[in-house]
Symmetry: D2
């Protein structure tokens, strides 16, 4: 329990803190005999790692993954695959000046209330660095899903007040914002750089599309496909909302408008986002996640000290002005973990 | 597994179909010695039951709850509390005409794909009637939470294109739309009645506010408070999105705007919706759920038959033009189940 | 949690007390499309029910099973199969005289210590009647296992100081002791009847043999096949020990003696009881369970009252002098639940 | 799932193989604020490590534990405590000569059947070395239990055909057999040394006594205290049986003999081994585990090759002639994990 484990049959457990020895993940439920290299996993981690561009944090974290167990002669053995990432470039002393202040928008206050003590070095367990383990596990899930014919693609749909007008998957990895529209990407980048100069940050919206999922995946009551995806994506600290298909717009639609109709070629619309009654329809699965602006900003803010007295805080350092580009591989990973788990559940049902 | 169980320490399992013998729920984890009557549970079920007003379905389901186990001399014993609701007024023959058609917006197609067969009578397990079990369990959770000083209040924020301008908790149960603004409620009601005449339906937005939750509740990684609430609320078939605090609006906010600031009196804003890093801040917890328009509409629609041929479908009968008023107790119940479970988890952590 | 659920993928939850409305079970994870009748389940329940012979309790409990959900037109739907057994012939007033005494060998004292209150009518949740739900679920598991070619056979190996000298499966259901040796059965019966006259009871040993399990079933670390069987069988209140293959005798064996050797025809001995490293070897799975003498005896005993004062207790009534014949279907059921669950886990691993 | 996780609220997950990078464990559910040093954990690991005496394997495994996460400034933080043990002195080439043979009594054959491939180096995941992670976690559980007033003491009751005549806890750590009787210990040691010379091994019986457990611990149906202890102890590959209190002897007892009677001073006998109806009585908890003779012996044995042909096998190397002395800390650890978990469950029930 205690919430460090996700999934049931393709189950991951993460551990580690941003400024301790490192972070990592165990996957329990990897099928035996899968060829797997550290390089494959690394390529997903490199999409998440800091310092990729001038719109992400300039921190240098190596994020170098090592297989610790569960691999023998280049293949998975069916036993727990443990992947380890040692911390480096960690400078805990940078946090000394703020160790007695609650950083606005961070979990400093809530961790202290929950545990009675906290690791103040760079958010400790609440750090975004914890998601490196998720991405490592997600890389394995993605590889398994690819063998099932499934592709998961997320991109920045909106950031700094700019939305993509076109969706072109080939553009995503070509711009630092990971936007699906190169024109919008340029404008986003410009605005984000301005925010950096102002010591400020921005939020955004990530859209995720999943193709190749056959009809019939998901459990119909509490573990609906959308409920599990919601759980997965909302377990990212920066995500404050998720919607499927037409999403919140459905509130203003009528049944005639919203119901997806079928003919002999299948569904002709997809307001449902590929999910009906919690089960996949065979159409593209589509969801959007609301990403809050980065909490760590250089501009001075009012806050409270551990001593109960107000104080001004300036979070110096090396923070992302917009988390969108780096959260994308994490969102894809979480979606992959949900899907791989449900495939296993479906096969167990029919066994 | 298979998704008919929710929660870990205050754990519920539901069973039953809309047109079988009945529906029900088991709660495992009720503390011993709690005084509990069927009447208390019934009063929550009555808020969900059909036929409450002329903006809900005129179906008459008794929804009468019976304690089957776990109670002795008016008190819970600490063993599984099973609550049973027998079906009545079920007219499965009403579904004969559409048993070979996939109703648009329903789980007919996806259930058949998942299971290879399906109970075509009124959605079977996918029926909204399944949620009666959740509400019965939620009534118990709510009672326990009340003893902890917690109140959960949900209401229709928007429906049929009309939004509440004011939020007054005292108004909610006074109008059939369960809107928090009596003026908006009147207009919603008018528009919904017009949709009934047109054989159409509408969606809406439910807002839920939870007071009294102390700071420190929630697990910081995968089982964040918002992740669990998201899982819970998105496990309702009609919900297509959820957002916390500022929600999707955070995408267009800057860090300076979005970060909630604190002074010696605590938080001065609540863009976070009462949750930071997945843990409660002690502020009001606030989320909104997008409710899709009822799928069952009388207007003719194009669809597919089980035989693979297109057909026109007319879903006669007795359906809600807007699910908002009746989903409110279900949403409150799911939120209550999450919170009660997390309280137990927190007490186990510190034990 | 709270321990009323067993299994992961073929998961059961039981509920109910001996003198409340009834008992029952939910199975979550039944594959869809299985033809299943109440009669099939009833035939297993009839092996467990009281009043079968003059060496079992003369209590008349109907133990009549009803399918409440999860069945449509004679087939399972893949949704929760709920089976209900209403109580009858319950005479709670029979317990009035002992409601303030702790019956020796019973859970009266421990339940009161755990919950702070207890249902004193016939052990409540701690009653052997709770196992009726397990047998109903076990009947379904056994049917599924039969389709996999697996047979589970348990029998009384020893009771009242008499051991079977021969093992003949055909004899088991022909004698009231369910012993595998008709000669030993006669002697057991004679001695048990004498114990009834003395207001006393006896223990025994049940042996269980499972054929048809392919090599490779079981999880190698914490969920070893023997660990799960041990958990399952020790979850019966009357069982005080379990051993596999050579069992406790292995303590006095040398490695040369105990190691099962193989040739091209496979294993030539089976000291391991069909399990190595927690995984099935393909040989017969064999275990023995120690069954304690029935706690409810008519002979007067010294005990303690709820008021903390010593008292004499006489447990009148209708109790089994030896639980062996009636625990056999329960043991088979628990073994069946473990195996069916592990098959599903294995199929999920390789998916 | 997949069985690498044990416990629910004080939950451990182990990983690693005997000849890979190392082994380790994550504990999820450690209360925050516990002072904990690697030295404390190491002292338990040293009781399990090879090379302690001339009746254990002369292999030198450092078994040196490192805290990787979950500790800050000498205290637990409430987040996952990960403990790592790097492998050393591993000589996988020693296994080259037997990599195509199934070692009798080992999991070689069953792993291959289960996974389709296997890590042949020293049993891989099936190695006893996996239990180092359990002992590290058990050391933490034991520390927490000590704060609750609970002591767990296991010892060799019988080995090589010799039984303890007296039980003296102070003697256990003074002799290499960890027997509770110094006279019996001497004789055991003598016989074990003879078996070493013969290239043979022996089994034994471990007895475990737990004091200080209050009445009321354990869940009454599937998660009975004895069922969980049985699961825990039978999850050790060398254990082939477990019994509680009078154990298998209860089969030959009558109810009058077996029922523990009470007077105002509580229970006057303890045939139940401290557990009634799956719940602790407040008396000493007592169980015995049957330990099989070590499978790895130097004497030549007949077996099967991976190629399906019979072969002679000689397992050279560095193996324990009797696993009893080294399994004792593992058994204590597994018992500690069960108890700590149940305490947390009990506190969650009453919350």
């Amino acid at each position: 329990m205690a919430g460090n484990t996700f999934g049931k049959l393709f189950k991951i457990t993460t551990f580690g803190e941003s400024h301790g020895a490192g972070v990592g993940v165990i996957i329990d439920g990897v099928p035996p005999g899968l060829e797997l290299t550290e390089t494959e996993v690394q390529s997903e981690l490199d999409r998440r790692k800091p310092g990729q561009s001038d719109v992400t944090t300039p921190r240098k974290e190596s994020d170098e993954v090592h297989f610790f167990s569960g691999i023998f002669e280049g293949k998975t053995t069916g036993t727990p695959l443990m992947m380890l990432l040692h911390n480096s470039d960690a400078d805990p002393s940078a946090y000394d000046s703020i160790k007695d202040l609650f950083r606005p928008g961070h979990a400093d206050f809530t961790f202290l209330k929950k545990y009675g003590l906290r690791d103040h070095r760079g958010s400790g367990r609440a750090s975004g660095r914890e998601t490196a383990g998720r991405v490592a596990a997600g890389a394995v899930a993605k590889k398994l899903l690819k063998l099932r014919g499934i592709e998961i693609t997320a991109y920045t749909l909106r950031a700094a007040g700019v939305s993509c007008k076109t969706i072109n998957f080939n553009e995503i990895e070509k711009n630092p914002m990971r936007a699906a529209d190169p024109v919008a990407a340029k404008e986003m980048e410009k605005r984000v750089k301005k925010l950096i100069d102002e010591g400020n940050s921005t939020g955004g919206i990530i859209e995720c599309r999943i193709t190749g999922v056959p009809a019939g995946l998901g459990e119909p009551v509490f573990d609906k496909l959308d409920a599990l995806l919601g759980h997965a994506i909302l377990s990212l600290g920066a995500v404050k909302g998720i919607e499927f298909g037409a999403g919140f717009a459905c509130a203003d639609m009528s049944g005639i408008e919203h119901n997806d109709w079928m003919d002999e070629d299948g569904f002709q619309t997809n307001n449902a986002g590929g999910i009906l009654g919690g089960i996949s329809t065979g159409e593209e699965i589509l969801f959007r996640a609301a990403v809050k602006p980065t909490s760590s900003i250089e501009a001075p803010q009012e806050t409270l000290g551990v001593n109960g007295k107000p104080a001004e805080i300036i979070t110096r350092g090396r923070h992302d002005p917009c988390i969108c580009p780096r959260i994308i591989p994490v969102i894809e990973s979480m979606a992959a973990l949900v899907l791989e788990d449900l495939f296993k559940e479906q096969s167990s049902l029919n066994d």
